[in-house]
Homo-oligomer: 568 residues x 2
């Protein structure tokens, strides 16, 4: 039976078993329990109505299950995208909350469209150009920005701004008006969640539970917190005491929505959608790959783009917000035993039950509890060690990290990921344009050739041997030409040049014509150009051109042979 | 004695001899004779008053002689920059010829400023990112555009447009109104110039002249043509017959001019100046380097940027137009025996004499002769063989050539060079993101390991050996990860993975963390990760991190040792 390429779901659906069903259902419960408070909280981070987080999770879980290639990736609202959504929308002239929510749908739509198009054009490799240190520092800086915005909910004061300084100043300015009961509840909630995260699983294991069960139970912290605080705020009418509650949420499944397609909105959000798409893809594929390999499954990057694109489009038409594969949530899904994407469909059904029947209960949920959930979640994203690790490894890695952190914190998350990526590519191009090249001589009594700077070696005034440790292509041809001619200009008695090529893996047309040029110019000065130790595939490529016929010297199989022949 | 870094002229001026003076003077005469008609013609190509070409040559020759690093580069108006100037200015809302000429000065100024800034920031390496095939196809396509615009002068009909199609349609539409006498004179002039270029030197040699003298004499074709046609049009008052003459040119040296610094003009020309600066630099440095190496002199790319920047600034303040080192003219200067940049100063003085005393003569010069000079000059720039050469060499070289030709001809020269450069960089990044990797096995009876696809080799179900033929860095880490995990997923009985690294020249932090990740994930599946034949500098880098301690397998000195140890 042939599986349609565009519907990977048939891969697992055909062989679905009862045991798969049991495993997936358990994982679905754990994920849904985690997703409900996170989805509500992340919607508030993005500045859209809280139910948008739940709608987005429902729509994207089902769509991704049908079109995505990862079996255990758990998609839905994630912290970094919510932050970027808030920043993108805050730049637009939006007035009412309805306009704001509508623009979030347009952003989801554009993000999904960009991802689908990239999948269609097979651009999955673009993710390669975000180095790991740039991604880690981007996520760290974004987590700081999210934490600062959530600090406002913790102190119950308004906080605004798109960069760290603005957020900090606005928090400090409003801090004197903080609301002590809210802060007290928030700190208690954080302490409880941190306890669940760090200690509860160990404690449960000590009480004799299985490790996996203990871990899954410890993930219920947020929902326990929600249950307790809902009861408290209902019982004691805490809103009378000034505690901000989640409030009215429409009951029932989301009605189909149409994003706002006005040209000014599409234009204003297009670049943001591009950044969101890149971040969504890179974050999701990293998690998906890490999980797939543990079960020896494979991820198809271009299909992953399609799955994520479809998921974002689905949220755009169901009143949601931009989504991606969440790191922690996917790990939880995996560890709770999910074996197929059906787990996502079941989780989606459970959230649907909440939306259908539990909205009167959610009314009483204190907003500060959601802030606590988000604060504890983003704490896990912080990784400051990237600064010292990159510093120790190389200056260029450190520079890319510093630029990413600096721009994300001082300008915006969107600018940060863009600047980090650009800096990394430019540093990379700069490095490849100056390949490692060594003037070599023979180690006496051997046939080995080594750098004359580091070894006592035999050389000859008539002969210049240069080893090139890099493929020859356009970014480095001009550099090699000037280097070579400088070396030649310094050596008045020179008669022969040998390029030692054992590490030359490729040669493009620029390099080939550059070699012809070098050959002709050296010949005019009465100097022969020779090659040694050229790899077979490269030799085949050279044989197809006129170069070998025009070569003033010869191509030697070994550098030693060239040295013996030309030293006099 | 210490030579100030910023004034390389002192290098040659200190040791200037009488023989140098004689050589330089002869070369100066040849270059001036060539430059005068070309300068006038190129000014018309750019759409500025004809004298601007002469002023630009005078100012830039002297300035470059003082600040440039090449001894024989002949700067002045060049075809490609004149075309780009015309295109940049035609996009602006300029009305009078005076506004047009003023904007050309602003463009010169901005181009000079960009070049100086690039020199100060030591950005000379940026030229590396224009591959030779892109440059050649850009120059070829530009020559076509110039020829099409000059065809208008040949037929004496107005031609306008910035791309090939527009130019062609406008030429065809106006062709019925062509002026037969102008066309006849133009064709005769082209035939004469082609004869001088192709045959005259050979003929003179046959008459017993020295080869170098014959060559220099054959370069006087354009000035002979000018003398004869000036005499004809004066004698027979050819303007009465409808022949377009060069007309009134102000007599005397140029008065200092101030470019127009209005913000709208600066803004409108900035991107154009960036392209002009790149083309100016890449064209000049290519010629300068080719000539320098023939006399074993060295070119300092960043000083070259300064020299070209100063030359363009000088033209901006003397009523000129953008300048660069011309390919043919520099070669002529070199072959005529120029030994120092003083030749440029002398050529400048001779042009000054023409401007001072010969403008009444130039009045009678038919414009169609200048068009003939330019047409014959740009003919030498055409190189259509780049299409077949790049096709034969590789698809990515061909693609870059096709994009450059296509965009230059169909949009504009500026867009063409930008698109070519961008395409080349993107293709390069795409290629580096998928390095060559081979699954290897042992050639029976030897210690050599070869690709299992191409050789009959020994392998083991418990062992996967992968040779990586590329440095490990962020553009390829994700690709390697997925490739490796796909290979692992295909092999159920696998116990060990060996990465064979003899060609790994570098490893960045992304790659190191990717290796750690691979190591940990494989370990979870009970598979050990091993390395073999890691180069010493890379081993030192790894030793500085935690990676080697965490490695689940070992690092082997030879692949054979790894194979023997792990095959069971």
């Amino acid at each position: 039976m042939i599986i349609p390429n565009w519907l990977p779901a048939l891969n697992w659906a055909r062989t679905y078993t009862l045991s798969d069903f049991r495993n997936d259902t358990i994982a679905a419960v754990v994920v849904a329990v985690m997703l409900i408070p996170q989805g509500l909280g992340l919607a508030l981070v993005a500045g859209v109505p809280p139910q948008a987080g739940l709608y987005a999770a429902m729509a994207s879980l089902v769509t991704y299950a049908l079109f995505g290639s990862s079996r255990t990736l758990s998609v839905g609202p994630v912290a970094v995208l919510s932050l970027m959504t808030a920043a993108a929308l805050s730049r637009l002239p939006l007035e009412t909350p309805a306009e704001y929510a509508g623009a979030a749908l347009t952003l989801s739509f554009l993000t999904g469209a960009v991802l689908l198009l990239a999948g269609f054009l097979r651009l999955g490799f673009v993710a390669n150009f975000i180095p790991r240190p740039v991604l880690v520092s981007f996520v760290t800086a974004s987590a700081i920005l999210i934490a600062m915005s959530q600090a406002g909910l913790l102190f119950a004061v308004p906080v605004s701004g798109s960069n760290a300084l603005e957020l900090l100043l606005s928090l400090l300015a409003n801090l004197p008006d903080f609301h002590p009961p809210t802060l007290a509840l928030g700190l208690a909630a954080i302490a409880f969640l941190a306890f669940c995260r760090k200690r509860l699983a160990l404690l449960l294991v000590r009480f004799g539970l299985r490790r996996s069960t203990a871990r899954s139970l410890s993930r219920t912290g947020p929902i326990l917190l929600a249950a307790v605080t809902v009861w408290l705020s209902w019982q004691f009418q805490l809103d009378q005491a000034g505690l901000a509650l989640l409030g009215e949420i429409p009951s029932g499944l989301p009605a189909p929505t149409l994003p706002d397609f006005s040209p000014s909105l599409l234009g204003g959000l297009f670049l943001s959608a591009l950044s969101l798409a890149i971040v969504c893809y890179v974050e999701s594929i990293s998690v998906a790959q890490a999980l797939a390999v543990r079960r020896r499954q494979a991820i198809e990057p271009n299909r992953e783009l399609t799955g994520l694109g479809a998921a974002n489009l689905a949220t755009a038409f169901s009143g949601g917000m931009p989504v991606a594969g969440g790191f922690t949530r996917s790990l939880v899904n995996f560890e709770a035993g999910a074996v197929t994407p059906a787990a996502g469909i079941f989780a989606s059904l459970m959230i649907a039950l909440v939306v259908l029947f539990l909205t009167p209960v959610l009314y009483w949920l204190p907003r500060v509890c959601l802030a606590a959930v988000i604060l504890v979640a983003v704490y896990a994203l912080l990784d400051f060690s990237i600064i010292s690790r990159s510093w120790r490894h190389s200056r260029s890695d450190f520079l890319a990290v510093a630029i990413t952190l600096g721009v994300t914190l001082s300008v915006s998350a969107e600018a940060g990921i863009g600047a980090g990526m650009l800096a990394a590519i430019l540093l990379h191009l700069f490095k490849t344009s100056r390949p490692h090249v060594a003037v070599v001589g023979r180690v006496p009594g051997t046939e080995h050739f080594r750098n004359i700077k580091h070894y006592e070696v035999e050389t000859s005034d008539a002969l210049l041997s240069v080893r090139i440790d890099e493929a020859l292509y356009f970014p480095n041809t001009r550099y090699l030409e000037s280097l070579l001619f400088r070396l030649v200009a310094e050596r008045p008695g020179l008669k022969h040049v040998v390029l030692m090529c054992p590490a030359v893996n490729d040669i493009d047309l620029s390099a080939l014509e550059s070699l012809e040029n070098i050959n002709d110019l050296l010949a005019e000065s009465g100097i022969s150009l020779n090659l040694s130790e050229v790899k077979a595939p490269i030799m085949n490529k050279l044989a197809g051109s006129r170069f070998l016929d025009r070569l003033s010297g010869r191509s030697y199989l070994s550098q030693n042979q060239a040295f013996e022949n030309l030293r006099k």
